[in-house]
């Protein structure tokens, strides 16, 4: 039965391919030290404005070449809505939502997080090239969702 042999070959090939993918995934996470957002703490969305560090949103230099951005998302604004950092700096984003779920995506980068009321979202990214990126709320958050955006300017 020829079909039988083809079938076997195909199924083996498929299995090997998927195992290669899995290995690639493990290698990128260990060797390239890329990160997904994980557990980074919790915060009450209703009192967040008086809780450190969210009582003072903005961009801060925490060490030479290293920045921290504390960011609040509310319907339908980001605070801060404009972020300026020098090229080559490593930026850690600490972000949270004050009302409904929002999203935070900086176009052209790997910074892509959900902001879920009650949770703190954190990720770090190095901005190599000067340029301008759009800061997009990419999760539906009500009637003004398409008006919720900002800018990241790398100088």
């Amino acid at each position: 039965m020829r079909v039988h042999q083809y079938e076997k070959a195909f199924l083996w090939l498929g299995a090997i391919m998927l195992v290669v993918f899995m290995v690639a995934l493990v290698i990128t996470s260990v060797a390239a030290s890329m990160h997904l957002p994980g557990r980074a703490g919790e915060v009450d969305p209703l009192t967040i404005n008086s809780v450190e560090p969210f009582d003072n949103p903005g961009v801060r230099e925490v060490a030479p070449g290293r920045y921290e951005v504390v960011l609040l998302a509310s319907a339908w604004v980001f605070n801060p809505a404009e972020i300026r950092v020098p090229a080559g700096s490593e930026v850690t984003f600490l972000a949270a939502a004050t009302d409904v779920i929002h999203g935070l995506h900086i176009t052209g980068t790997r910074v892509n997080m959900m902001l879920i009321p009650g949770q703190i979202s954190r990720n770090t990214y190095r901005f190599e090239e000067p340029g301008e990126h759009i800061l997009v709320c990419h999760e539906y958050c009500g009637a003004g969702h398409h008006l919720m955006s900002g800018k990241v300017i790398v100088e």
Binding site: M1, V3, H4, Y6, E7, F10, L11, G14, A15, L18, F21, M22, L25, T28, S29, M34, H35, L36, P37, G38, R39, A40, E42, P45, L46, A75, D99, V100, I101, G103, H105, T107, G108, R110, V111, N112, M113, M114, L115, I116, P117, G118, Q119, I120, S121, R122, H133, I134, V136, H138, E139, Y140, C141, G142, A143, G144, H145, H146, L147, S149
Partner: protein
């Protein structure tokens, strides 16, 4: 092994099946509800596509208050009502036919009326702008309770249909001890077993949290927990949409091309793998979520590659079945069989095109699942680009293809406009490929999904072409869908009476089920169900155990 000419493995008795008229009517109306939903969904799909091209036709939809109200309707109608109404009709029909016994009228009635009640509640709450929270219903945006209750009733209708399948199977087993379950019944039942386990997530979320919260009984809710429960169901739901299409590709399509189903045991193994692996993969929709440990996400990522495997096996099987058919029809050479597939049959054409779009859907899906790459595409227009090549065409086109024999079968009228029907799926396919090309390229450049693009206050130059392609492709899809409805409506009202097919098309198998040996054990549905539950526990219990109790932090918001 020689191909047997007639064998009982797909259905029990090859001939002599007669569907009683009252059951025929109930099945028909259940499917019609799905087509009504599709019509409503497509209407707004057209507006969405154009909105990405910055053309706003919403003002011509006077009843609509916002883009997002329409998008809610699009998601709910297409992804939930269209698909499940179809499954609720199709799976009992397939099971009963396979077991060669009638369905149970009470179950059919209960399924249909629950579905109707679900529709009434959801239509009312969505059209009055009380539920513009999209089909994902993420808290703390809060919809009217009728929306949550309507969606719960939709799930209940699928449970009633499931119970129908289980009763049919149990009765048959009682009368046929030691017999192999006919393949078509086996894969139909397994589809809803998987879905029943999967649907526990949204059932708990909606009944336990969202419904009491929308009624004011619970003051606050936990957005992350509800989202996690949603995605517990939310990945498996895509297989609940897809598996009925696979059932058609495996067990029916070969007959329509004059081919044969390649292997009975392999088909069973594929469906068992879906039962085991569809659910413990939900965190791949939450890669970018806070509050979930990355180790849990990585584990689900690995299992996601696992659940890709049965789809690879399916690719082999369905192509082999088509090739057998093409060659028996006289196609020679390496690829000559493709031309001989019976491209004049609208049902077959739609489904082969569905398979082709699914190749792209599968590849883009694998990319989504790839952990870090997900951070490039998550919630960008890439995602609807991806899933219009899966549920939006692989499934939708298959369900249209099935309609081309099922509506004549159920109405006993001849299909009206056969040529138009053949052209229909080509138009839709070209449309979906163009639209997906637009959405995918825009998404790679950061264009978000779920955006009223026509009115957005930001954008990039590269989104212009992407958006234009989305608009053009979406328009073609809409034309394709309208052609479909024309054919179906004309068939129902004007198709020649008494000239419908007398039976469903079902395939013969090259490698049939055997009565002894290892593959007899495949029929132990109870055992597989237990194994599936154990896997789900392994994949989800660590999260829930380290997370609970619920963080009831959010009141409801209704700014839509």
């Amino acid at each position: 092994m020689s191909p047997s000419t007639s064998n009982p493995t797909v259905v029990l008795h090859a001939s002599g099946y007669d569907l009683p008229d009252d059951q025929r009517r109930l099945v028909r109306w259940t499917i019609y509800i799905g087509y009504f939903a599709l019509a409503a969904g497509v209407a707004h799909g057209f507006a969405q596509g154009l909105s990405y091209a910055k053309i706003d036709i919403l003002r011509f939809f006077p009843a609509l208050r916002s883009y997002y109200q329409g998008l809610t309707a699009h998601g709910v109608a297409n992804a939930l009502f269209f698909t499940f109404a179809f499954s609720n009709a199709f799976l009992p029909l397939m099971t009963a036919r396979a077991l060669s016994r009638p369905m149970i009228k009470g179950f059919l009635q209960a399924t249909l009326w629950t579905l109707v009640a679900a529709n009434v509640m959801v239509i009312w709450s969505v059209t009055t702008n009380r539920a513009s929270v999209l089909f994902t219903a993420y808290a703390p945006l809060q919809a009217h309770w009728a929306y949550y209750l309507g969606l719960v009733l939709l799930v209940v209708s699928t449970w009633i249909a499931s119970a129908h399948l289980y009763v049919l199977l149990a009765r048959w087993r009682r009368d046929n001890r030691g017999e192999r379950i006919p393949l078509l019944a086996f894969i139909s039942v397994l589809t809803y077993v998987m879905w029943d386990i999967a649907s526990i997530g949204i059932a708990v979320s909606f009944v336990g949290f969202l419904l009491p919260w929308s009624l004011g009984i619970l003051e606050r809710t936990d957005p992350l927990l509800n989202r996690t429960l949603f995605w517990f169901t939310g990945h498996a739901i895509v297989y609940a949409w897809l598996l009925p299409a696979y059932i058609s590709w495996y067990a029916l399509v070969p007959r329509q091309t004059n081919g044969k189903l390649v292997s009975d045991p392999l088909t069973r193994v594929v469906f068992i793998m879906f039962l085991l692996l569809s659910i413990p993969t939900g965190f791949h929709h939450q890669y970018t979520d806070p509050g979930i440990a990355t180790s849990f996400k990585a584990f689900h990522a690995l299992l996601t590659f696992g659940v890709f495997y049965p789809s690879l096996a399916t690719a082999f099987s369905v192509v082999a079945a088509l090739e057998i058919g093409g060659r028996r029809n006289g196609g020679g050479g390496l690829l000559g069989w493709i031309r001989k597939l019976r491209w004049d049959d609208p049902s077959l054409t739609a489904q082969v095109l569905a398979m082709i779009t699914f190749v792209f859907g599968g590849i883009t899906g694998l990319i989504n699942a790839s952990y870090f790459v997900n951070q490039i595409v998550h919630n960008t227009a890439w995602i609807p680009g991806h899933f219009h090549m899966t549920v939006g065409s692989a499934v939708a086109l298959t369900l249209m293809g099935v309609a081309y024999w099922a509506i004549p079968y159920l109405t006993q009228r001849k299909l009206w406009g056969r040529k138009l029907a053949v052209a229909q799926s080509w138009v839709y396919t070209v449309g979906v490929l163009i639209m997906a090309r637009g959405l995918i390229s825009g998404g790679l450049d950061g264009m978000p999904r779920r955006i009223f693009r026509a009115e957005a206050n930001y954008g990039a130059e590269s989104w212009e072409l992407a958006g234009a392609l989305t608009g053009i492709g979406g328009t073609l899809m809409t034309v394709g869908a309208v052609m479909f409805f024309l054919v179906i409506v004309m068939t129902i009202f004007f198709g020649k009476k008494g000239e419908g097919p007398k039976d469903i098309p079902f395939a013969e198998t090259l490698i049939p089920a055997s009565r002894e040996g290892w593959d007899v054990k495949l029929d132990r549905i109870g055992l597989w169900t237990v194994a599936a539950v154990v896997l789900v526990l392994i994949a989800y219990a660590p999260f829930f155990l380290t997370y609970l109790p619920a963080r009831l932090v959010s009141p409801g918001y209704t700014f839509f």
